[in-house]
């Protein structure tokens, strides 16, 4: 059993390191209370932040004889300066000397809190750790001389991007706002669309170091309690130092890691998220990322663009079909080409066979390597195109199209037909609205090509069956990934391959939503009453 041994040791190595880290972390976090001396409090904070340059400390005197020393601490750039100005103004001007009785120690803090602080959320804090965390997340801390507690005023004012059109999912018809990196903005975008008291937003903090705020959004009564519970459970289980993007959360809570398919839907579009919430799904928003993930998600969702719902039903259905078709092209075109060209030449009409044979005359590679070469070249081109500065893009396409396409054909390295197949595959790949699914297809395509090279069409069929088996084993938060095709649910077919008119989609997806299935009632077609010809 050496395998097990290796597995154990590796596991142990990982475990020990993580234990050490948590241990050191918890040592640091030992409760440290504030003391009454303002000086030493400030010093302590300064020290624990390592004299950080973005920590701003102002000491002001207020009160009747300017005898109360107050320290104001905040992080530069994390707070709203206008609000801070207001706060300082009111501290200095509004508090009349008579209001403050320096001897009454208990009421001093609450006095200031009641009278002077007019903005933001206010807390009273007694230990350093919380205080420091607050300072670092956009609070201004007020430390008062001779008081062993501090007032923390929330006046966050981050530099933020405005609401812009999302880059990853553009559309022609439909709302153009997209999520931003700010959590508050994102929740407000959702709230604006669903003005219901049933839209519940539950907050969590994940990441031992980053302490990222994560919000679980769902509609009470629509979302299945089990799934909400499961989401909480899975998020609570996360024990990691940093959450920097939604992708991190996604990877940590998904059902199955060893799959190229995305089992969690993520989008930049608030309208898409709102729509999914209304189907009874649960959204997870992560601070610092414009992507929101929605669970549970099914495979068909990755073929649905939010524009589908803003367009006529028949056109949307056509587009859906087109996308499914493109899915198959993107997945299979090169492998079918290889299979037909190396195993099933009889499938080509004689004239086509002759012209391909003539093209391939003098090409040194077998069809498989030719295809592999072109596909890899294209993947490289694409990857380079994504990471490149915009300005170079033009040059890139010239290099790609002319140098690699034209020249390679003329040099007799690849055949024209192969270039056509590869470009068709690439274009088809772009038709799939969800990028994460499109990427997984790119991966599987290579496997298919290998199978086609070894067994021809039988190999491709083998690959398809294997793919289906794999898809059927997948689940997203307990919901079978391939539903509503398998298990087949007739009512849910209205929003899969087809997009039925909205009035006919009166039920929510069955497997996701068991409690409140009916969307609308007594609302047949919205035909006007037939007019009598008067």
């Amino acid at each position: 059993m050496p395998g097990r041994l290796v597995y154990r040791t590796i596991k142990n190595i990982f475990r020990t390191t993580s234990k050490d880290e948590t241990a050191s972390q918890s040592q640091q976090q030992e409760e440290k209370k504030l003391v009454s001396s303002l000086e030493s409090n400030i010093l302590e904070i300064k020290n624990s932040l390592g004299n950080s340059s973005d920590l701003v400390i102002r000491v002001i005197h207020i009160g009747a004889e300017n005898n109360i020393k107050i320290g104001v601490l905040y992080t530069d750039g994390m707070i709203n300066t206008a609000a801070l100005q207001d706060l300082l103004d009111s501290l200095i001007n509004k508090i009349k000397p008579s209001d403050i009785v320096p001897t009454d120690s208990t009421s001093l803090v609450s006095d200031i809190r009641k009278n002077a602080v007019t903005v933001g959320e206010v807390e009273e804090i007694k230990d350093f750790n919380t205080l420091i965390t607050n300072i670092l997340s956009g609070h201004a801390a007020l430390l008062i001389e001779n008081e062993p507690q501090a007032i923390s005023v929330s006046i966050p004012g981050l530099e933020k991007r405005g609401v812009e059109e999302p880059q990853s999912a553009t559309l022609i018809k439909g709302p153009r706002d997209g999520f931003t990196e700010t959590l508050g903005t994102n929740t407000s975008l959702l709230r604006r669309r669903i003005r219901s008291s049933n839209l519940w937003l539950e907050s969590k903090e994940i990441g031992r170091v980053t302490k990222t705020r994560v919000i679980i959004a769902y509609i009470k009564g629509l979302a299945s309690e089990d799934i909400v519970k499961e989401v909480h459970h899975r998020l609570d289980k996360i024990n990691i130092d940093a959450i920097l993007e939604t992708g991190n959360v996604e990877e940590l809570i998904q059902d199955e890691t060893y799959t190229p398919f995305p089992t969690i839907f993520s989008t930049e579009r608030p309208d898409a998220v709102a729509g999914k919430l209304l189907e009874g799904r649960v959204a997870i928003l992560v601070d610092g990322s414009p992507f929101v993930i929605v669970v549970p998600s099914l495979m068909v969702e990755f073929f649905q663009a939010s524009e589908d719902y803003y367009q006529r039903a028949d056109i949307a259905t056509f587009l859906r079909f087109l996308r499914f078709f493109c899915f198959f092209i993107a997945l299979l075109a090169p492998s079918l080409y290889i299979a037909v060209l190396t195993y099933h030449q009889e499938m080509l009409p004689t004239t086509l066979l002759v012209s391909i044979a003539a093209q391939r005359e003098g090409i040194p590679f077998p069809a498989f390597f030719e295809a592999l070469l072109m596909e890899l070249t294209f993947e490289i081109l694409r990857e380079a195109g994504v990471r490149m500065p915009r300005a170079v893009g033009q040059a890139m396409s010239i290099v790609g199209a002319l140098v690699l396409g034209q020249a390679a054909v003329q040099a007799g390295i690849v055949s024209n037909a192969m270039v056509i197949v590869v470009s068709m595959t690439a274009i088809a790949n772009f038709c799939i609205p969800a990028i994460n699914l499109a990427i997984s297809i790119r991966l599987i395509r290579f496997v298919m090509m290998c199978l086609a090279a070894v067994f021809g069409l039988i190999g491709v069929m083998f690959g398809i069956v294997l793919l289906c088996i794999h898809l059927c084993t997948l689940r997203s938060f307990g919901v079978p990934y391939t539903s509503p095709f398998a298990p087949f649910i007739l009512q849910d077919q209205k929003d899969t391959l087809f997009r039925f008119p909205l009035w006919s989609m009166f039920s929510r997806p069955r497997l996701i939503n068991q409690n409140n299935v009916i969307r609308e009632q007594n609302n047949p077609t919205s035909k006007p009453e037939t007019r009598t010809g008067k």
């Binding site: 060893y258 799959t259 060209l341 190396t342 195993y343 030449q345 009889e346 004689t350 066979l353 002759v354 012209s355 391909i356 044979a357 003539a358 093209q359 391939r360 005359e361 003098g362 090409i363 077998p366 069809a367 290998c450 090279a453 070894v454 021809g456």
Partner: protein
């Protein structure tokens, strides 16, 4: 963990398989055969000739281009005791691996046809590479080998030329028959029907036909022409039907899509274009043990050409034309039937089959000596063609000319 096991299993299996791709054949490593000829060789075996196309020449867009002319096809010949041996032996000559899936046409030499085509057919239907969608024809007065050596114009591939012109002549002139492997097999196996195959003839000098000169001149010195049909009995060729008889045969078989019938009328000719026709074979069993057969042809026709002085719009003209057309068709059919009955004793019309279908019990009785009975049976032919339209003009110009 499950996935890991699976992955490892998969790689273990796929590594040896990837390194050996058993059935791969690259397109550019194939010698694509488009036509196959089967002849007798001197030593009782078969000679096989294969027409292989030359992809770069066929696919080249600009003809010539200064680089000179390569023939679009090359024909190789080899012989062996059985067909398969001869084909495998061909690899000694062909530059690449022979690939037979794209065969368009198979030419059976007259000699082979006279000796029997069973052996040839067995290989053709057994080999998985071969398909069944090629046509089978018989070379007339020449070897199949020579037929495959003639270069053709316009259709660069002679095999394609043969294929296309067989289709065209069968559809528009109805003197040839499109027979593919499945049809042939069914006919050979069937007790009440004998196969017929279209014949191909070389018109002109076969020697010149093999050189590019043939296609570079506006008037080809050697041409491939379909000529009549070959009647078989028990898979052996017994004789040929000429053009008219072939047409008659096709009428009875119901395979006439469209054809032209020329009738004499008022010291001129009228061309009747047959548009659709259907045939019905009705066996009767009332008199004695030998059945009689009634053949009924019905159809519709147009007037296609009038080379005589004729007032088409008079009411009796159409019926007269119809009568003459019917007679003409009937002549064709009876001459074909007579030839089949008297000369070849081969039931190429499938009368026996029809009897089998209509009255299986009776057929059981006469099945064994059908070959003897067939020449004696009475065949009654009834033709009923209706002429419907006159084309885009009514009366011919002749009428006005003669008035002057």
């Amino acid at each position: 963990m499950k996935k890991v096991i699976f992955f490892i299993l998969f790689t273990i299996v796929s590594i040896p398989t990837l390194s050996a791709c058993w059935d791969t054949r690259e397109v550019n490593d194939l010698a694509i055969a488009v036509a196959l000829g089967i002849d007798k060789s001197e030593d009782k075996g078969y000679t096989v000739s294969v027409q292989i196309l030359n992809p770069s020449e066929v696919a080249s867009q600009t003809a010539g281009g200064g680089s000179g002319y390569d023939t679009p096809v090359t024909t190789y010949t080899s012989s062996g005791k059985i067909l398969f041996e001869a084909i495998r032996k061909l690899t000694q000559q062909t530059p690449r691996k022979l690939y037979l899936a794209h065969l368009r046409i198979i030419v059976i030499g007259e000699e082979v046809a006279k000796e029997g085509i069973y052996n040839a057919i067995d290989f053709l239907s057994r080999d998985p590479e071969l398909r069944t969608d090629f046509y089978i024809i018989v070379s007339k007065d020449s070897k199949a080998e020579d037929v495959l050596r003639i270069l053709t114009n316009i259709e660069k591939l002679p095999a394609n030329k043969l294929y296309e012109s067989l289709e065209a002549s069968s559809d528009a002139w109805a003197v040839t028959g499109k027979v593919n492997l499945n049809d042939l097999l069914n006919d050979i196996v069937s007790e009440g029907k004998q196969p017929v195959l279209t014949g191909i003839k070389i018109k002109g000098d076969p020697k010149i036909g093999t050189s590019p000169d043939n296609v570079q001149s506006i008037y080809p010195k050697a041409e491939l022409v379909y000529d009549g049909m070959a009647a078989f009995r028990n898979n052996k060729l017994v004789g040929w039907l000429d053009e008219e008889e072939s047409k008659g045969l096709n009428y009875v078989k119901g395979t006439v899509k469209s054809t032209l019938i020329v009738t004499d009328m008022n010291d001129g000719q009228v061309g009747i274009e047959l548009l659709k026709s259907s045939a019905e074979i009705i066996p009767h069993f009332d008199v004695g043990s030998t059945p009689t057969i009634e053949v009924k042809i019905t159809g519709e026709a147009n007037i296609g050409e009038v080379n005589t002085n004729l007032d088409l719009l008079k009411d009796h003209v159409f019926s007269e034309l119809e009568k003459k057309t019917n007679e003409k068709i009937k002549d064709n059919i009876t001459s074909a039937i007579e030839k089949a009955q008297k000369e070849y004793k081969a039931d190429i019309f499938g009368f026996g089959d029809k009897i089998h279908k209509e009255d299986p019990k009776k057929w059981e009785e006469i099945k064994t000596n059908w070959t003897e009975i067939f020449p004696t049976i009475q065949v009654e032919v009834k033709v009923d063609i209706k002429i419907r339209r006159t084309g885009t003009i009514t009366n011919p110009f002749h009428n006005e000319l003669s008035e002057e």
